[in-house]
């Protein structure tokens, strides 16, 4: 009986003596496969419709456009120096006098002009008291209503100034150069005929300026801005060191409001600020002559289109980051004596330009690399998470490359900003992947690195020791690209031109009690 009781007590003891440990969340390691991204990067996404466009054949094209113009032409000056003194005046006789009109500089002949400024000076001297009125008219000067310009003497003494502003000279569109002024003097007096009644002096000694002008203008040059930057080029991904563009064109649309033929002078200057290279090309036609710009008329401007291809292509060979127009000017052609031109003070020459450089290029052996490594700023919390929970990481990539470019990408991680991809002592981790071009994929469809639907497979792994770097406060990354040298490449931007990236992150992390708070 005692044994029985003892046995029951033992059983009960087993029951009541169970020790239950305090519950805590234990630690353990798990592997997390996290789909990171699935995204298509279309070449057409590069198109910003400003600097990068597509042409009619969907070829990606770097473009630059803008406009320039000359200052307003301003007033046309006729520097004449007409001065006639002591012309005798005789009663009963109307004097008709012709005075030559010419530009003292020999640059200007006027056939018609609307005068903005000009002064006629007259002086009547020794006039007999019987004279009641003297009228002087100049045939070539007319008011806007067509009446002849005339002045009257009413006994004033000394030099009198008469403004010529708003008067017209000559006949519009007549084409006849006004080379002399015809004066007509009528004397009213009580004296018998042929009695001298006094003297008349007159002069136009200051330039006559026209706001509207028809005639000849010799050796006149219209300047554009002293130096104008045509195109600022920002190459995508900094690929200018790795490619040589093969084609480029520049179209210039010139609007000429001046009624004169012009010749276009100047040069294009291309500069590569990274290499310091400069290349200049004069603006000449295929015969090495300046381009001639057609004249406008008073009714409207002329339009001229100039297309530059070979010259510009040569300029793009140095992969310029800007192209400027140097010493651009238009020289007015006087033309023949039978041909007169016209100009208004507000007339100007303007031009619009568009430079297109299609992405047709040859790849070079150069390595694309930024000048300095980028600093990766991980927060203290992120670094703590990596240090505490991450054991190792593995990045899987599936990339479908539908563009004709293949390249090798290299990633260099280090704890200083002095990473040099050619010096292994300057970085701690180096990862590399080779992305084949679309052409290579199509030629090697059964390659083991390819999936059936043409994705290229990549695996990048970071060990625990390598991940320690990511818990470092100073983390720097230098990336470089080397393109496959596969001849002339034409990059189109149709919907079929893209790179599709799928990525999976495989993380081995340690589950800990506090991690939920950390996350």
């Amino acid at each position: 009986m005692k044994r029985l009781v003892m046995m029951l007590i033992l059983i009960a003891g087993l029951l009541v003596s169970c020790n239950i440990s305090k519950p805590v969340l234990p630690e353990w390691d798990v592997t997390l496969n996290i789909p990171l991204i699935s995204r298509s990067f279309f070449v057409s996404d590069l198109v910003d419709s400003v600097n990068i466009i597509t042409d009619d054949n969907d070829i990606l094209t770097i473009t630059g456009s803008g406009s320039m113009e000359s200052p307003p032409f301003g007033l046309v000056r006729l520097s004449t120096n007409i001065s006639t003194n002591n012309i005798p005046l005789v009663s009963g006789i109307n004097a008709d006098i012709a005075l030559p009109l010419f530009d003292s500089a020999g640059e200007t002949d006027v056939s018609y002009g609307e005068i903005a400024t000009g002064v006629l000076k007259t002086m009547f001297a020794d006039i007999a008291p019987e004279v009641t009125l003297i009228e002087l008219s100049i045939e070539e000067f007319r008011f806007p209503n067509g009446e002849s310009f005339s002045i009257s003497y009413h006994g004033e003494s000394g030099w009198q100034e008469h403004s010529l502003a708003s008067l017209r000279i000559g006949t519009i569109d007549s084409g006849v150069i006004v080379d002399s002024l015809h004066l007509s003097v009528r004397i009213f007096s009580s004296l018998p005929d042929k009695v001298p009644v006094g003297n008349m002096s007159l002069g136009i000694t200051e330039p006559i300026c026209f706001r509207v002008f028809q005639g000849h203008l010799r050796e006149r040059t219209v300047w554009l801005d002293e130096e104008s930057t045509f195109i600022d080029i920002e190459y995508p991904f900094g690929i200018e060191d790795a490619i040589r563009l093969q084609e480029a064109s520049l179209k210039i649309y010139i609007t000429n409001e001046l009624g004169f033929h012009c010749t276009f002078h100047g040069s294009f200057l291309a500069e590569n600020s990274r290499t310091g290279e400069k290349l200049s090309m004069p603006i000449l036609d295929e015969n090495d002559n300046p381009y001639t710009i057609n004249p406008g008329t008073l009714a409207g401007p002329s339009f001229t289109e100039l297309i530059f291809e070979d010259n510009i292509s040569r300029l793009f060979q140095i992969m310029p980051d800007n192209i400027s127009l140097q010493d651009a000017n238009f020289t007015l052609c006087c033309g023949t004596e039978e041909e007169v031109g016209s100009v208004r003070e507000t007339d100007k020459i303007s031009l619009r330009y568009q430079a297109d450089a299609p992405f047709i290029f040859e790849l070079t052996e150069s390595t694309i690399a930024p000048e300095k490594p980028m600093e990766l700023n991980l927060s203290d919390e992120q670094r703590d998470l990596i240090r505490t929970y991450a054991n190792d990481a593995h990045l899987g990539l599936m990339i479908k490359n539908k563009i004709p470019l293949g390249f090798t990408a290299n990633l260099y991680f280090g704890d200083t900003d002095t990473i040099d991809h050619e010096d292994s002592s300057t970085y701690l981790i180096h990862k590399s992947l080779l992305l084949r071009s679309n052409k290579w994929v199509e030629e090697n469809p059964t390659h083991p690195d390819l999936t059936q639907d043409g994705y290229q497979l990549f695996n990048l792994s970071l060990s625990r020791a390598e991940m320690e770097l990511f818990s470092n406060a100073d983390l720097h990354l230098l990336w470089t690209f080397n393109f496959d040298n596969s001849g002339i490449i034409t990059v189109t931007a149709s919907p079929a031109d893209y790179i599709h990236i799928k990525s999976m992150m495989r993380l081995n992390v340690r589950i800990k009690e506090d991690m939920w708070d950390d996350f």
Partner: protein, 416 residues
Amino acid sequence: MGRLLILGLILLLTLPLVAGNSAGLPIFFADSYMLRARGVEANYWNPALLNRMGELWLPALNTGISFNNNALDLKYYNHIMDNKEITESDKEELLNRMGGRLRFNAKVESSIVGFCMGDAALSSSLHLFGKAKLSQRYLDLLLYGNEEEHYEFSKKDTNVESLGYIDLTVGMGDIRLPLPESIPDIRFGWSGSLLFGVEELDTAHYSGIFTSNYDGLSLKQDVTLRASAGGLGFKGMIGLASEPIQNLHAGITLDNILGGIRWGLMRESLHYSISAENVYILDLDDDDNDLFEVDEWEEQADPFTTKLPMEMRMGLLYRLKLVDFSIDYVQGFGDSVVTSKVGRVSFGSEFSPLYTLPIYFGFSPGNSDGPYQVAFGLGLRTRVIALGLGVQSFGSLFPSSKSKGIATALSLRIKY
């Protein structure tokens, strides 16, 4: 002895805290009890054994509580908690223990009232049953992460169900079959139970898919839980018993005949759905909640019947002067919260060196539904009162930190 009593009483006091389960005195024998049942108990175990015995059941004094699982035990729990780490071998061991899924079973049965007179008995008792399964794949995900691309979950491996009802049972037994004298007496009995459904919860639908690959993270989880209260049902039982050889008793019962509870008073279906398709981490930000579609709604469910699949039990009992031995085999004809299609054998023995102080033993080998069970019990018996206390251990010889479950029972019968 006093400590045992105190322990038993403490366990009984915790009864209302434990979700559903099974029997009183039968627990002492690991359910090898079909030919041992007498008096009111025979109403539930084999009505053929109702014979000229007056017995009274009092509320809650015949109670059994059982809860167990197929994988976890206190020792393993302590091992993890003390080490504060789950090693690779720990993971492997845990998954091996689960055998495909983690199962939880709980059962409470408690008498309300019962008495028998002559060959008939009238009784009522409370029954609470609970089962839950969790697919091993969930633990795979938890312990190892999503190492595989595709995970699929179904109702077969992940579900929860519970059932509670009160029966009002009348039975009649000791009906001798008219057989030739050359054939040993075979007694027949029957019982019928009117079932008052208390609550029912079942997983009407469960499906889940989780994929994580280069095509993104996709998730679809649909769960429909059906809850109801206030039902009415019936189940019948017939039994045969015989003593073909002296001291050797044999019996067979068929339970849950026409068994079912019709739920009509309160019925609700709770639907929960979450889905996401081709999600990538870099697509997520604070404003992108619509990547995950979460939907939850309730609706009134149509009246339905919880069927109780029939269950057959066969048993042998051999009695000697001081000791007896029994073997039972139970086979359900359908899976439910109360039955299993996986057959189970159980062995029982009563050792009575003193009539007033019987000792009970039980053993049932494990099967795919659960670990093996070992039961011990002690009785205090007079001609009027029979008191018993017992305990059962799952997956361990003795109730200890290695047990994957435990059951305890109190039995008190008053004879008159």
